[in-house]
Symmetry: C2
Amino acid sequence: MEPGPTQRVWRLAAHPTGLPTTATWTLETVPVPQPRAGEILARALYLDVAPYMRGRISPQKNYAAGVKPGDVMIGGGIGVVLESQARGIAAGDCVVSDFAFGWREYAVLKAQAVRRIDRALAPLPYWMEALGLNGLTAYFALYDCAAARPGDTVVISAAAGSVGQLAGQLARIAGCRVIGVTSRAEKAAWCRAIGYDDVLAYRDEPDLTAALARICPQGVDVFIDNTAGAIHDAVLQQLAPQARIALVGAVSLAARFGEPDLGPRYLRQLLIARATMRGFLVSDYQDRYEVARSRLAAWVKSGQLRSRFDILDGFERLPEAFLRLLASRNTGKQLVRVAPEPPAADAGAMQIQ
Amino acid sequence: MEPGPTQRVWRLAAHPTGLPTTATWTLETVPVPQPRAGEILARALYLDVAPYMRGRISPQKNYAAGVKPGDVMIGGGIGVVLESQARGIAAGDCVVSDFAFGWREYAVLKAQAVRRIDRALAPLPYWMEALGLNGLTAYFALYDCAAARPGDTVVISAAAGSVGQLAGQLARIAGCRVIGVTSRAEKAAWCRAIGYDDVLAYRDEPDLTAALARICPQGVDVFIDNTAGAIHDAVLQQLAPQARIALVGAVSLAARFGEPDLGPRYLRQLLIARATMRGFLVSDYQDRYEVARSRLAAWVKSGQLRSRFDILDGFERLPEAFLRLLASRNTGKQLVRVAPEPPAADAGAMQIQ
């Protein structure tokens, strides 16, 4: 019997302590599975790496099921359909999955786990960014969880990152004054290019608290916190009355994951400002994704929402791409290109390679 | 010229660092002032001490103007009117002021700064408690800020204190399961007597976090935080999804006021639970006081809302009463009785003594 086609997958080798390393995953070769009724077989074009994955590979309790050693690494991806047993999806279609693709070259996915991509609406990478979970996160964190209003001073940490760059532009669209906090001058320049009113590059700031006080003399009304840590601490000392803080991510804690995060607590500051600090998880807003996505698509189309991508080539570079992200070395949304984009016209002729 | 009548007042001597002491205030004798048009002269019957006063005597930025050295100490009080130049208030009426009475034996107050007391509705001390700021704080913190719902597991710190004992009973009225955290077994017994479902006396608990996990196996939905500190830390590790935390007070930090409060931060726990932590200040709800007070009065009348008071006798004991409170040595709402209650019938005959 002739052996079937094979593919590479990244499996979790062990729960990391502190920062993951390239040894946290192992590369294996396994058969390409066959789709059954209601399923599709897709070839990966772009695979996602994102800060939330640090929580998923930890043994600690989290908001969603974790990845166990031996499991294929979870993650979103954009693929081209090679074979479809599902109504409404055809070979040649491009599809996106927020979480279910996994770090593998080929995936069999249930039709409900993917969305068909309209390539005329936006280039493929945007479907993992402005039109994907990053855009939805920025949209709901800013407009709903933190309830940004015209005239608010909005501070965004990881301001040049995947969620940050979108949140900054969405805050401008909402009539806010937008302050970004990012790591380096090069990223600060990108923030200014997309419309941030002011940007702090924290690696160049000897006193972040003082710098923030200087550029937010009336205090901070809204804080989209993608990092926790030192930036959080600086902002919590500058809260305007009735400030709203959306806790979206805690990437600065990735190296000490599972350890207690020790430092000053700001309960009195929250009390005095009558501020609201709220943990945010985009999946709580699932029933409103479609409205949000149509608005995000319109802003992408009009040019009001621009994104920068940082794309590494090669399936084997997935762990490296993830570590880049945790170290804040990426510039823009980090993705890994696994295969070249098929031309829109003859994508139907694609085969397992 | 004959000297006019005199009275004693407590003035702030100096901003304390850490816990105040009896030397934080000085007792002085000053003239009793005369009311002008729109004002009343009242003799103090009960004067208030409350945790919020620690913030007011600090030089740090706060939500309200602070007391400066040399100022008469602020504070609420219940008094009997000796002379009225204000329409709608007559000599012999009892009145209550939430903040403006001050630590003095006689006060001239603007009519708008006081409310007339209906002594048939509730005994005088209740007007500084269930029908005063404590009742309003418990009501709005629980029902509005933390949005307690039937079936919620509600944890209340300083559970036998002035706000705590009311919040516990209001949570029962709202159909919640109520857990109190208090300092000592004697206070825990009072909490049980007024309907708390379970109580932890933290001075007897070697591991508060474990004890709380044991009695809240489904997690904590609502936390009315009157203390900050170790109790806060224990609850933040037991949050149920969508938990709401009202930061009402931080009395455990009184000894280290102005210093950074160092310890574990729980941003990741808030994020995972999608919890909401909100600073609470009762004065933000002023436009709804009357509705709340009428409901509180009905529950007092029906016996659904009971209060325990800890009343020291003697104007000279105000600093001592405040320090008792900060050290959690009081049992129930701490007040100081300055003069005996006048009989309801002939209070009109009262004079400056």
